[in-house]
C-alpha cells in the first residue's frame, strides 16, 4: 500500500483562490469504502447532506443538492434550466465569473444584457435596476463573491429589484458559501450554486446548488426541454427527491467528503466560522501593508476569504510569477495570480475554510519576508 510513492509531492498550504486545503476528516471520509448509489445507507447520507446544505444556504428549498460537477457546471445548471433560447437575461459583470455567465448564457441562446463594474468594485444597484426595468428580463444573475477580484457584492437590493420586475434571480455563491452569510430565502434568490473547494475545505468536484419553487415552476412551463440531460433539474429531482430513481451514478466518495465537511461547519457554527474568516483577513491585510502589498478592493466590499492585493514595485519589477513559484517551491505555499484583466497586476490570497486561521497567515507573511529582500 504505497500510493503515489514516486510522485507524492511535499504538502502544500493552499492560499490561492481555491482549492483550499481539505480537512483531514474530509479526506478520511472520502477514503471510506464505497456504497451503492441506491443503497439505503447511502441515501441516508444524501438526505443528511441535503438537510445541512439547506441550513447553510438558509433556504427551505427541497431541491437543494450537490450537483455532480464543479462550480462552473453549477453555473451552467442554473442558467440552462431557467433560460430558453431568446429569453432575456441581465448579468452583472464585475469580474471573470460574471463574464463567464454571459458566455454560458449566450451558448444557451439567451439575449444577454450586461451591466459592468470596474474590476475590484461592485455592481451598482441603481445600474442593475435601470437595466432590469429597461430589458424586463426572464432572469437576472450575478456573483456574490467575485473570485477574480475579491469583491463582496451586496445582494438584497438587486435581488429585490429583479423580483419586483418579475425576473428570477440566480446567484453565484461559489466562494462565499461557508465563509460569509448566504441567505437565499431572505434575499429572494431563485437558484444558486457553489463549489466545495473554497470555504467548505472539501476537494473540488461537486457544486452544492439550490432551486426554489419559482425556479421549478419556470422549468415546468418551458416550451422545450432543458438542453442538458445531465443537468436537467426535472431528472435530478427524481433521484434527489423521494422517488430515488436512478438518473446518473452519484459521485459517492465526494458526497462522503461533503457530508463530513458540512458536519464540521455545523460543529463550529456559522457565526464563529464567519468571524474566523474576518479575523484572518484582517491579520493578513495588516501584515501585508508593511511589505508594500495594498488591497485592491475598498474596505467595505473586501471579501474575508479572498484578499486581492496590488503588488509592490519591487515585485512587479521582476515579474510576479517567479516570486509565486519560489513561494511554492521553497515554502510549499500557493497563492493565486490575477485573472483576466488583472493578470500580472495582483495576487489573490485565499484564507478559506480551514485556512482562515492565524497560522497560515503567519506562515505566508514569514515566507514573504524571507523572499522579498532577495529580489
Amino acid at each position: 500500500m504505497e500510493p503515489m510513492t514516486a510522485s507524492t509531492p511535499a504538502p502544500r498550504l493552499l492560499l490561492g483562490p481555491g482549492p483550499s486545503n481539505a480537512h483531514p476528516r474530509v479526506l478520511a471520509a472520502m477514503a471510506q469504502p464505497l456504497l451503492g448509489h441506491l443503497d439505503p445507507a447511502f441515501l441516508a447520507i444524501v438526505d443528511e447532506v441535503q438537510a445541512r446544505l439547506r441550513r447553510l444556504f438558509a433556504t427551505s428549498n427541497p431541491l437543494t443538492i450537490p450537483l455532480s460537477c464543479t462550480g462552473s457546471g453549477g453555473m451552467e445548471a442554473c442558467l440552462a434550466n431557467l433560460l430558453e433560447p431568446d429569453d432575456a437575461l441581465v448579468v452583472g459583470v464585475a469580474g471573470v465569473f460574471g463574464e463567464r455567465m454571459c458566455d454560458v448564457a449566450a451558448r444557451i441562446g439567451a439575449r444577454v444584457t450586461r451591466v459592468d463594474a470596474e474590476p475590484g468594485t461592485v455592481l451598482e444597484a441603481g445600474a442593475m435596476s435601470e437595466a432590469i426595468a429597461r430589458v424586463r428580463p426572464r432572469v437576472v444573475s450575478f456573483v456574490h463573491a467575485e473570485t477574480s477580484t475579491g469583491a463582496w457584492q451586496p445582494v438584497a437590493e438587486i435581488a429585490a429589484a429583479a423580483r419586483s420586475a418579475g425576473a428570477l434571480v440566480v446567484l453565484d455563491c461559489v466562494t462565499s458559501l461557508g465563509g460569509l452569510p448566504v441567505e437565499l430565502d431572505a434575499w429572494g434568490i431563485d437558484a444558486a450554486y457553489s463549489g466545495t473547494q473554497k470555504c467548505l475545505s472539501c476537494p473540488p468536484g461537486l457544486s452544492p446548488a439550490s432551486f426554489g419553487p419559482r425556479a421549478l415552476a419556470r422549468v415546468a412551463e418551458r416550451r422545450r426541454r432543458v438542453q442538458s440531460w445531465y443537468l436537467d433539474v426535472c431528472l435530478l429531482s427524481s433521484y434527489y427527491g423521494s422517488e430515488r430513481v436512478y438518473h446518473h451514478t452519484a459521485p459517492i466518495s465526494a458526497i462522503f467528503g461533503l457530508a463530513e465537511a458540512l458536519r464540521l461547519v455545523e460543529e463550529e457554527g456559522l457565526p464563529a466560522r464567519f468571524a474566523r474568516h474576518r479575523r484572518a483577513a484582517q491579520r493578513l491585510v495588516a501584515g501585508l501593508a508593511p511589505l508594500g502589498f495594498a488591497p485592491l478592493v475598498a474596505a467595505a466590499h473586501r471579501l474575508p476569504m479572498l484578499t486581492s492585493v496590488r503588488l509592490p514595485e519591487r515585485v512587479l519589477a521582476g515579474g510576479e510569477a517567479p516570486l509565486r513559484r519560489r513561494l511554492l517551491e521553497r515554502h510549499g505555499i500557493e497563492v493565486g495570480g490575477g485573472l483576466g484583466k488583472l493578470a500580472g497586476r495582483i495576487w489573490r490570497i485565499g484564507l478559506m475554510g480551514e485556512n482562515a486561521r492565524e497560522e497560515p497567515v503567519d506562515r505566508l507573511l514569514e515566507a514573504l519576508r524571507t523572499e522579498l529582500p532577495t529580489l
Copy 2:
C-alpha cells in the same frame, strides 16, 4: 478523527452494475492532501493520467482526458461537441444507454434516427449500415457494453460502415473500459467516453474520454459554439493541452484516485485483467445455473463484467426486490435489478475490476444458497 461514526454502514460487496468496490490503494490516493489544479506537481499527475488513458483506450489522441462529470456527462460531452441543431445522428439502441443517447441528442436539436435491437441482443451491423446509407448522418453512436442488458456489441463493422459514409463515430465504453479490449484507433472511433466506477474500480465522478483528430476538426468547423461551456472541448483543450490555462477547477482528489487505478491496471497488464474478468463470469454463470438463474444474453454476446440473468420462478413469485434487499442487509452484497423494460424480470450481476475474482463470486453464490430455500 472519527468520520461518519454514527452512520458508517457495514462494508458492502458491490456486485451491481456499478459502482464496483474501489481498490484500497485508490481510496488511499484520494485521501492524499490536495494540490492546486495549476501546481506543476499536480499537472505531472494529469500528464500521467492522460498517457495511461491513451494506452487503455488504445489511441494516440492527444485529447484523452478525465472529464469532470460521470459517464452520462461524458455521453453528453461527446454528442454536444460533435452535433449542432439539425445535424443527423444514427443511434444504435439495444438498451437504456442507447435510449439515453437519443434523449441527449434530441435536446441538442439533432435529428435522431434510431436502429433498435431487442434488449439482451446486439445491433445488427446490416441494419446499422442500411440506416447509415439512408440517412447519411453526421454522427453514428452506439454502446460497446450495454449496462442495462449485459450484451457485448461488436464494434468494428458498424464503425467501418459509419466512416465509409463520412460519419463520425461515438462509442460508449462506460462498462467495457478496463474489462474488455477497447481499441479506439484500430476501430476508427472518433469520440469515446467511459466511467471510473466500473472496471477501473475507482469511485464514480469522472468520465475518461477521448477525442480524435476528425472529431476536433468537426468542432473547429462548427457554425455555432458548443452549447455547453462546461463540456466544450475547445476550452478543455486549453487546460488539458500544453497551455494549462484555467478553465474549471479540476476534481483533484478524484484524479489522484484515477491515477492510482490506472497504475493498478498497468501493473496487472491488460491481457491478464481481461482474462480475469472472463474467468470470473464463467464461474458465476456455472454457479448460478443449478440455482435456476439463466443468462439473458446468448453466450457469444455476453459481457464478462456484467451478467444479466433471468430470475427463477421461485424468486419472481415473491418479487425480486425483497431477495435483493435480504442479500444487502444480511450478507452485505449488492446486486442490480433490471432497468427499463427489464425491471423486475432480471438481475444484473457485476464482476467489475477488483471484484472479478473467485471470492466475490463464491460469496454471492453462498448467500443465494442460504436465502433461496427460505423463499
